[in-house]
């Protein structure tokens, strides 16, 4: 079942350029060319999709269409079956499609963790006893229960980002769109957040759309959509996407080092080297067969 449908969407920044705060969004100039044109994409319910692209390729702008932060200049976006241009149902859309941003500091509102997690529920007017339960569940889901009475300023970047995720899942959304959630984190923080995202997807069936430029993160998704110049240039399982080593390098992206190794081996005459290999285990298995 499809959850988000992007249908023939064209978008150009015009007078609403100030709506955009994405770090990697292109700056609007006088005659703004479209960020993307006639774009189609659907996100299946329960899936884990990574949208990959270099800074300024339009991936963040696309993400902002998924919960009506931005509205298309042409075409339609349906989020959980709702036309995002229907202003009267804006909050309904936001409840279905949660959004987590890059900078963990700038999305935490309250000075106590659990109060921040409750923020969306307070806005929705959820009854207190129900709220308590859902806040505790959300904190538990991201593994931050023991910090519920802490101040966000005492937490590490990864922990803050998990609080931000908890604040979104407390709304019980169908889908979470994460706009480069790990870009400002250290490796440990990135691992924490990725583990949390994957668990939410596997165990709670939350649909995940992960905007990223880290290949190793995209490799963990079920589906990778590669964008360049406002177009979808690849859309497949990770291993099939990453086997396009040359194309990816051309559009300013990288591939996992294991794939790089396979590619380099293939070029130097190891015909059996398989560029569909995307992680160190598969890579070691292949090499073991070759070397033993």
């Amino acid at each position: 079942m499809e959850l988000i449908r992007i249908e023939d969407v064209t978008f150009r920044y015009s007078d609403i350029s100030d709506e955009d705060t994405g770090a990697d969004a292109p700056k609007p100039s006088e005659e703004t060319p479209p960020v993307f044109e006639h774009l189609d994409l659907t996100i299946e319910k329960g899936s884990f999709t990574a949208i990959l692209g270099h800074n300024g390729c339009g991936k963040s702008t696309l993400a902002k269409h998924m919960n009506a932060i931005l509205l298309p200049s042409g075409g339609k976006v349906y989020a959980a079956g709702i036309d995002t241009s229907d202003e009267s149902r804006l909050f309904e859309i936001r409840r279905h499609i949660g959004m987590v941003f890059q900078n963990p500091d700038n999305q935490i509102v309250a000075s106590i963790v659990e109060e921040d997690v409750a923020f969306a529920l307070e806005n929705m007017g959820v009854e207190q006893s129900v709220m308590r339960k859902r806040v505790d569940e959300a904190l538990d889901a991201v593994g931050m229960s023991e910090f519920k009475e802490h101040s966000p300023s005492q937490l590490s970047g990864g922990q803050k980002q998990r609080v931000a995720i908890a604040g979104v899942i407390a709304m019980r959304p169908d889908c979470i769109v994460l706009d480069e959630p790990t870009a400002m984190l250290d490796p440990a923080g990135r691992r924490e957040v990725m583990k949390t995202i994957r668990r939410l997807n596997r165990e709670s069936g939350v649909t995940i759309v992960l905007i990223t430029h880290y290949m190793d993160e995209a490799a963990k998704a079920d589906r990778v959509v590669v964008m360049d110049g406002g177009k979808v240039i690849l859309d497949d399982e990770p291993k099939n996407v990453f086997s396009n080593v040359e194309l990816l390098k051309e559009v300013g992206l990288d591939v996992p080092q294991s794939t790089q190794l396979m590619y380099a081996m293939k070029k130097s005459g190891f015909d059996t080297a398989d560029t569909h290999i995307i992680n160190e285990n598969e890579c070691a298995d292949y090499l073991y067969e070759l070397l033993r």
Partner: protein, 286 residues
């Protein structure tokens, strides 16, 4: 060039939050070296580098730059800062001037150089980081994130420091942006012969560019050596929670499986070469 002697720094001394960030560090970094500094958050690497230009005063121990104790009697810290340029993490947040050129000129102007000299240096630094001339008169706030970052880096390079320290200059950039900036830093190092210290979370990046690697752990120097020597300790490095390049992991896995292959592999090209050599040795080359 840089020498520390029993350098120790303790945060919030005498309070319940007391924490030793840098502990008894003896370090000697040679002139002209390109050093990668690795360590996870809280390993003391950020505190260490802020000691090197006197932004933090050690709790005990000494820092020598060019053989001179920077907290010595006749040394002005400001001069030390011109000699040891420090680019902070997310340096684009420190930009404040109306034009790109003026912002790059801030450091050199503070040095009291003539206008002509400042102009030359601004142009030179801008060209190193690949900022075209027509951008120089634009407002830095109109630029893209990656361009702003380069303006900020140029602002420190323009002081022509003998030591350039960069704290995660590629944080938050995409692969292309990372490659471009690291390439420019490497080019700067090659052309200026200055000492460069690059703090990074990415072993891959450090492995590719640095001549020496300093691994920090829990406020202490874990090791300071050339990349091949450091990566022979791949297992120990992984044990202190640092990630090693994926190829290094692959070779670790191979050895676990019983293949007797070298462990100091850290780049793709070297990996291919190693595999070829291994097969040749076994007489099984295709």
């Amino acid at each position: 060039m840089i020498r520390t002697e029993k350098l120790t720094y303790t945060y919030s001394q005498g309070t319940p939050f007391e924490k030793t960030a840098v502990n008894n560090v003896d370090l000697h970094i040679e002139e002209g070296a390109f050093v990668g500094i690795i360590g996870h958050t809280g390993s003391g690497k950020s505190t260490l580098i802020q000691h090197l230009n006197g932004l933090i005063k050690p709790t005990s121990g000494k820092v020598f730059i060019d053989g001179e104790d920077i907290h010595g009697k006749n040394v002005k810290l400001r001069d030390v800062r011109f000699k040891v340029g420090l680019v902070f993490q997310y340096p684009e947040y420190q930009i404040f001037e109306e034009t790109v050129a003026k912002d790059i000129a801030y450091g050199p102007s503070n040095m009291g150089l003539s206008k002509e000299e400042v102009d030359t240096r601004v142009k030179e630094a801008a060209s190193i980081v690949g900022l075209p001339d027509d951008l120089l008169e634009r407002s830095p706030f109109e630029l893209s994130g990656g361009q702003k970052r380069r303006v900020a880096i140029a602002g420190v390079m323009a002081m022509r420091p003998k030591v350039l320290i960069l704290d995660e200059p590629t944080a938050g950039l995409d692969p292309k942006g990372r490659e471009v900036i690291l390439g420019q830093i490497s080019e700067y190092h090659r052309r200026s012969h200055s000492t460069v210290l690059l703090v990074s979370h990415s072993m891959e990046d450090v492995a590719l560019y640095a001549e020496k690697i300093l691994v920090m752990n829990k406020g202490e120097v874990f090791c300071y050596d050339t990349p091949p020597n450091v990566f022979t300790k791949a297992d120990e490095i992984a044990a202190i929670g640092l990630s090693v390049p994926q190829v290094t992991k692959v070779f670790g896995l191979l050895r676990q499986k019983g293949i007797d292959i070298r462990s100091d592999v850290y780049t793709v090209d070297f990996a291919v070469k190693t595999i070829r050599e291994y097969l040749e040795q076994k007489g099984r080359v295709s």
